[in-house]
Subunit: 301 residues, 4 copies
């Protein structure tokens, strides 16, 4: 099985200045922050990375900057796009920009298995030999992939080097996938990591998630891999209230950026419009959760 | 404001025997369990109560049994139905069976505000003067109610005595609703209680949620209401890993029933078909989470 | 192959009086009208039959009245229901009321093939040996059935005696289904009959549709079956403008009821609330289309 | 009211060669064909124009070629995009390429009126003073715009110069929109023109639709505008069976391209992958429908 997809892949934010311009200097500090806190790789241009608000030039500039700063760690770029032509063009561009591979979810609107197979035939015949993470995230795409469907995609398309599994409940699906996959393929999980312990128990290679305290995600992975299950749970539970609070789709990303700013990882918590804006009451909720997490972390030491 | 909707309303399970028959004796023990652990009221025949798998006769038998056992506490019955005629008929029946009121969500398929107002005009002109909880749960219904829409519904329909708010993020919407509502209406929240602390901070009257440890939900409400915010968080965090694990829609209900059985509240954890079935690996995950919760609770004492 | 499902099955309206009460006397006149105009069978309690606005008692009364009046022709009753228990109970009741069989669509919310198979296992294990029409109508249910999925359902469940195919484009799917079905199963088509000629060319057993001039649907079927293809088209085209106008989901049903009233088949064009209400401008559109159809029909003679 | 949006706006195909390359020479012949058959303007890069399968460069090359060939007639470019940044960038590019304006539908995923207003605020603050057609096509976008919502958008955003109305039923909504719009705005209609006569009766400025016989759409518009209502219907009805057959979303586009090739307007009927491919049986259906239309047209003369 590929050794590349093992450990924490951080789903990376795209930093903006207060007035909404792309902030490439903050990419540097944020990338350092992720690696310092245990990232084995990075996933950029995802939904949480506000990819849909970037121009093509900005998307590529972001990939290049992350790649340049990532100390050789693999950078995966999200390229999902309703247009197969644009998906293929973007794939070519991000690979030229230094990305290790791409992440692709089935296009919204696919219905039957026949549609799904036809879509991925078109995709994989165009992008060529690029390492690909197949993303199974039905609550976002509206496309449900059954375990047999995933197995057949893996069989047909050698480009699929890893699966990002975000169906719910994830754990049972992971177990069934392990039994059905025709070749060993690493499985990483998302959903912001809220079910990470159970997913580890069912045999995944690591989390692919964003969190303002990535040291928790990497730490849990290491403890669990070392057989320290209770310690892994203890670490996880320390951060869980804040993790949950960030697990509220785009609004949760606003929370995450606010905490990343407070921790000095980025200069501004701004999300590009259209997007959520935190109120004073929301900031107060964050104050309380962060102070409780910080206190609990201090007590652990 | 109505004093009825204040504190914990437990979203109640419907117990079945191992072979799937309605288990009315377990309704008695489960109802006692809920009240012993702090329920101020009960909500029956919800999605988590497997209402969609009951015949009409079973639905009414369940309501009657809960009412008879509830020591005078109010029982709310879910009556959402694609058919307004059946919704109205069921409302009449459950009120005759002793329910205090009903809970109604907008029918799947409603699109514009005009559709929504037309639908509720039809509903409220038929059910008469029955206390109603308006349920705002867009991820289940597919119908998005804006704050101005909710305010207008409350203005037009005096039957609306409470709102169950389950949009995400809930906290900000609660704040905006408080400012917009034309009369004081209690707001209760669901989503299995995972955002309860923030919702309390934004001014709700209590949780309307299911959990295998309802004493946590009632306890958090009481502590928070008494101004003991940090203690409320401490109590909440103790149970959070298990609460999250139960927060996986119908599959999470299977977990909850399993824990309720282990705690002696019901005789069988069976869910009616079609529904999820827990595997040995899933039961192991539950073993671990429950043992950790029990240990943490013991340490608190 | 079953000889029962051959020719025109009229999707029957449910007549109401001007004030919205069930009008059983109009069931008699409407049933006579359908049979006089060539119905080989009837489908009642469908979406176009406003089933979702009937109480259980009204549903059964409607079935009984149609059966009593249908001169021995088979009556199929729609029993689709989010609750398998209620679906099974309703199936039992309608069969006792004299229905020849039932029509079932997959429940909204089913996603993967696994879900679909599990759902129909639950359904068919409960309803017993009742002749069933499997309805494939993805634009209404949101559930997409691929051809292999349909073939497997037919293989597993001998109760499936016919398929109502309403996917778009229907013709190509019919051809692929014919090749894939493991046993001969009649295929009837819906979508209000707008693609009837092409569906006949691809080998169906007849239309299952509603129209205010059912003599067109039965006439086209007979001409086509007799090899008179051009004549079948000529007849079809004569009515097509009005057929299209009725092909606007629930609003189209309001048009159909208005024309049925004008033709003396029912006493009132009322649809139950919540439902569309025709404006004066709409009635004028109908005046024009009906007068053009009537003129064209007269000229054909 | 703007005189620009009056008469037939043809929703233009994007021609490809047999092997799927963009065929700019066929753009010339197709553009000539549209104008010869009565186009007052063109709409390019729509869903039916396979926009989602073009790279950015191809999109702009298509716009430029159409503009260069259109004899000064206005060309509207579809720019709907999940990314507001990309929508704005594409808008800038197509206007520089000579497009008269753009067409924008609300992004899939918008839910409440608040979301919709926020989205269009972001869009219109970025694209500047570009004439815009607001597209209301809920069956494609999943976003339902009520009449009051449309009226408020028109009030807030002077860029909205026309509305493309594709809700069903369209006619009643057009009448209500006319009464609610705060300033005179032309309304054009789509849905492939199948409800064109009723829409004209309710007061629209013309069709914005694709059809392999655009002379029917322009002819109906002219006859109706000249008060020749029955003649307009006669012309419409002559082509209706083929019009309906093309009204089957992407599959219908394959039919349309086949007929356009037969009429000499383009060199190849190819649709880019992933997309529908016509079978021999489908081609036979087309043979029959086209021969009947041609015969009926000949008889009219």
């Amino acid at each position: 099985m590929s050794q590349t997809f093992s450990g924490l892949f951080v789903v990376a934010q795209t930093p903006f200045t207060d007035d909404g311009a792309l902030d490439l200097e903050s990419v540097d500090t944020l990338c350092d922050f992720y690696i310092k806190h245990g990232a084995a790789g990075l996933t950029v241009l995802g939904v949480a990375g506000e990819a849909a608000k970037l121009s093509m030039e900005e998307s590529l500039a972001t990939v290049r900057r992350y790649v340049a700063r990532a100390q050789g760690k693999p950078v995966i770029a999200g390229v999902s796009n309703p247009s197969v032509a644009q998906l293929a063009a973007l794939t070519k561009d991000v690979v030229e920009a230094g990305a290790y591979g791409v992440m692709i979810a089935p296009a919204t609107g696919l219905k039957t298995e026949e549609d799904i197979f036809s879509y991925f035939n078109a995709v994989f015949s165009r992008i060529g030999d690029v390492p690909t993470v197949l993303q199974d995230f039905p609550f976002s795409t509206g496309v449900w992939l059954s375990v047999p469907t995933i197995a057949r995609l893996v069989e047909r398309h050698p480009q699929i080097q890893a699966i990002k599994e975000e169906d719910i409940p994830s754990a049972a699906k992971i177990t069934r996938m392990r039994a059905a996959l025709p070749r060993p393929v690493p499985i990483l999980t998302g959903n912001n990591g809220v079910f990470l312990l159970q997913e580890l128990a069912h045999g995944i290679e690591g989390p692919m998630a964003g969190f303002s305290y990535p040291e928790m995600l990497s730490g849990v992975y290491k403890l669990y891999s070392a057989g320290k299950v209770q310690e892994a749970h203890d670490l996880f539970d320390t951060y869980l209230p804040l993790l949950n609070f960030e697990n509220q789709s785009q609004w949760g990303v606003a929370v995450r950026k606010e905490v990343l700013k407070r921790r000095g990882a980025i200069r501004s918590a701004t999300m590009r419009s259209p997007g959520p804006v935190l109120t004073a009451a929301d900031l107060k909720d964050i104050d309380l959760l962060v102070s409780r997490v910080e206190k609990a972390v201090a007590e652990r030491k």
